[in-house]
Symmetry: C2
Subunit: 213 residues, 2 copies
């Protein structure tokens, strides 16, 4: 499978590309000249999320699946995290890349939780993610999965997570990446919004116990 | 008819209330203690767009129609112009206020025009308005009209406008307000997105010549 990762140079994207490249042809999409992680299976393509949807569509050509794991870290939420993400959904639809996996944030589709814990400091971010998630679920025909982790931590991965999250938690980046990889292999995740945090259940099993909310 | 105007203290809102109050009971919604224009037909209600949808719903109770003419002037686009607007749509639906009139911005639903003229400096604003407009047209059952004027000017109104706009223009605030008032009286505008600028056609006629794009 040929898999495009948008946000190739980020903390999640760089590790995700490394993992995916053991099994797939990977296209590393970023506005930087070259991604940090590179190997024989990794091709780089220039993608600037500020460009129009036509340019982004060109860079999406020929891929079977798209991961969006980019983010502006609060610096350009409207143009990158919201509208930038949605332009990549439109590009995926135009080129017929049906499978689309979006990295979002815990409770992005449930504003009633936005005053809880660390989310209380991220209202602008939650709004941007909310409307990107909403667009994907209501305005596209993509085979989507939305992964909504809690706070990302630079820690070792345990391979064990929890998916039926009831309050904002935390995750190692390695567990988030392993879950993103597992989602692509597991078509039961299509059409689902999956909340996650580090936990006690092996990733494969946790993905199969997702309750539809 | 009981008509709620959200953004009562703004340049558009204050004039709109004055005009509406000659024919309707008006509820002036703002987070300020009292609106600038007040009269016997005008009741004030506290509405803070940063509050949750439950609070905004309380303030929307008992009205037949809602105007949203608020804006953060670029200072809080995600929380006011985007999410704040959408919370008022949700509130309107909850209380059964079917008629909803949204003041938007020219070409907000057509990103292919966002590099033209003064719009090129307003990308963040255009994105916020875009997703608010999109939500209203796709995610609600409201009897909506979206008015999309060009640049607002502090000039005398002529009572004459153009609705089939092909490039970004300008409008006197008085003409925008007169058009907003006329929209409420004209059910042929329901379900339409109306682009406008100052022009040569009387408002009533211009509203009847809107081409669906």
């Amino acid at each position: 499978m040929k898999v495009l990762v948008i946000g190739a140079n980020g903390r999640v994207g760089s590790l995700l590309i490394k993992k995916l490249a053991t099994q797939h042809q990977v296209v590393a999409g970023s506005r930087h000249a070259k991604p940090i992680n590179n190997s024989g299976n990794v091709e780089h393509r220039y993608i600037d999320l500020l460009d129009d949807v036509n340019s982004i569509t060109e860079s999406t050509n020929g891929v079977d699946a798209v991961y969006f794991v980019s983010g502006s870290r609060g610096k350009n939420l409207l143009q990158i995290d919201l509208h930038g993400a949605i332009k990549t959904m439109q590009a995926a639809e135009r080129v017929g890349a049906k499978r689309y996996i979006l990295l979002s944030s815990v409770f992005a589709l449930q504003p009633e939780h936005w005053k809880e814990s660390f989310l209380n400091d991220l209202t602008d971010y939650n709004i941007a993610k909310h409307y990107a998630d909403l667009y994907l679920t209501t305005q596209t025909q993509l085979d989507y999965t939305i992964l909504q982790p809690g706070a990302l931590k630079e820690e070792q991965g345990t391979g064990k997570i929890e998916t039926n999250v009831t309050s904002p938690g935390a995750n190692s980046i390695a567990n988030v990446v392993a879950t993103l990889v597992a989602i692509l292999e597991d078509d039961s995740t299509i059409g689902k919004v999956i909340l996650m945090q580090d936990g006690d259940t092996p990733i494969h099993d946790a993905l199969h116990s997702v309750r539809i909310t």
